[in-house]
Amino acid sequence: MEGLTRRYGPVVALDGLDLTLRPGELIALLGPSGCGKTTTLRLLAGLEDADAGIITVGGRDITRLSASKRDMGMVFQAYSLFPHMTVVQNVAFGLRLRRMAKAERERRALDMLDLVGLSEQAGRYAHQLSGGQQQRVALARALAIEPQVLLLDEPLSALDAKVRAQLRDQIRRIQLEVGITTLFVTHDQEEALAIADRVGVMREGQLEQLAPPIEVYSRPATAFVAEFVGLTNRLAGTVSGSTVTVRGRDLPLVDLGTPAGPVTALIRPEAVTLASSGEAGSGPLAGTVIAITFLGATSRVTVNLGDTTIMAQLPTSDATELTAGSHVALSIRPDPVLVSVAENKESVAASEA
């Protein structure tokens, strides 16, 4: 997709978006509501027309093609199964449209149901299935026509947490097995990071960063990405030379070209470590615990430093002695730190190894 633009009246949903999917890869589009990720998907599917830009698939320009002529499989957020047809009839629907013989399309539909693990439900109707099962049928239906691209529009958002995690992995497994190029839209960053080959973070109609998950997480290209993906502490600091001084400590910079001056340093909670100190310490890295959130394997500790609060993330075993009110001393791991110029949140390129 090149230069895609889509406007709804005065609202610009997509602003000159460029995005290329490599064969067989799964790209997750991530972003807050209204960022344009769903619009991108729908433009690709042909359910809407772009105001400007081109879409090509396998070298062929399909921009003017209607949805029914594009070779895409789409899974919607919910309620997309036809209620008057059984599961197997739903899955076979696309094949029926392509005039496949009845016996053959039923066989193929059952193969697909096998792939998603629902062969036993073949004769049932949509309302008799759970949400997760319905989405699996929807997936089977989309794959049955052997499309060139698979499009998933927040397919897990309507499901409960446990089902979501299971289904997410299953989708990824199937996608790899079939080897189909996939575009996956979601607002849940955990989903995106877990299953994608590359993650595209979008904001207000533009791509902020498109990179493998680990890069998006540890080397965010802009402040927005840093804050949207994972948690971030924002601490005041001063840049001089090639380091930034944050609360008395000098930390290396990601971007050595940052001009000297006051900045906001973005520090991940897991880069902050705590040690309990007997009595109230003093200095910029001494503080009191406000709250501890138990997250299972890790715990998040919120500490009051007097003039600001900071979050630290530790393995739970290290946090067991801490309670609200404990005095602690912090230290910050000397990883390269991303900074943003205090006032206008300009994006800073990340490029350090």
Binding site: Y8, A13, T38, R42, G46, L47, E48, S66, A67
Partner: protein
Amino acid sequence: MVAVTSLGETPLAGPAARGPQGMQRSRLRRLNAFRYVVFTLFGLFIALPLLALARFSLEGSKLGTWSVAAWTQIVSYPGLASAVELTLELAVITSLAMLALLLPTMIWIKLRVQWMSRIFEFLCLLPLTIPAIALVVGLGPVYNRIQHYSLSALQLFWVYVILALPYAYRALSSGLDALDAVTLAEAARSLGANWFTVMFRVIAPNMRQAILNSVLLTGALVLGEYTIAYLLLFNTLQPTLYSISRNTPNAGVVFSTSLASLLFAFALLIIVSYAGRRRRRG
């Protein structure tokens, strides 16, 4: 689902896309062409008889001349004014009775006796299909047992509520379905409200639009009802119009009143429809 839509209630989603989701241009074009054709054809079909009514209502004493006499006479014609007044009063009484009967029952069924909703719907739709004359034939003895001539036409409301059931039911149930009534009720009950409070201070206020709609559909029905009033020899609006047509040299009055009552009801419904929307925005 077969139901009567109420005015001012907007559907949650529909066959056409709107809002942040758009539609493919070529399909949009075809859809708009279809709508254009349909509305033009039916607009014509609906409008022509009405225009004819208008033309005739403005007819002078000699064919081909114009005169607003028919309209000015609306006020002056003796039986007519009282018939109009009577019918309007009847409309109000019928609406109130309908609300008193339907609203508590529907809320109650929705909250406590859900298994009855199918039966209830059936009963409410029945009047659409039972001929009014059949009702009359059956009701005749009932009404005749009481001193007929001392009976005010307002007693018609008992039957009119029945006739209004299908329309009022659907208008109210649209409004009731749009709420999560059960959750609201549970929340109120957990705060200590009794059923009476739940019904009238929690649920009903949220159905204001639907209630208004049902009242107006009922009013439209009363204004237009002819059969029962005529057969039971009451002088409400429609029978009066009919006897005018039989007895007056100036037939124009009939046309002007017919048109006036149509326009009046229509204007009321439109106003309600827009009134509901403004409240929602604020």
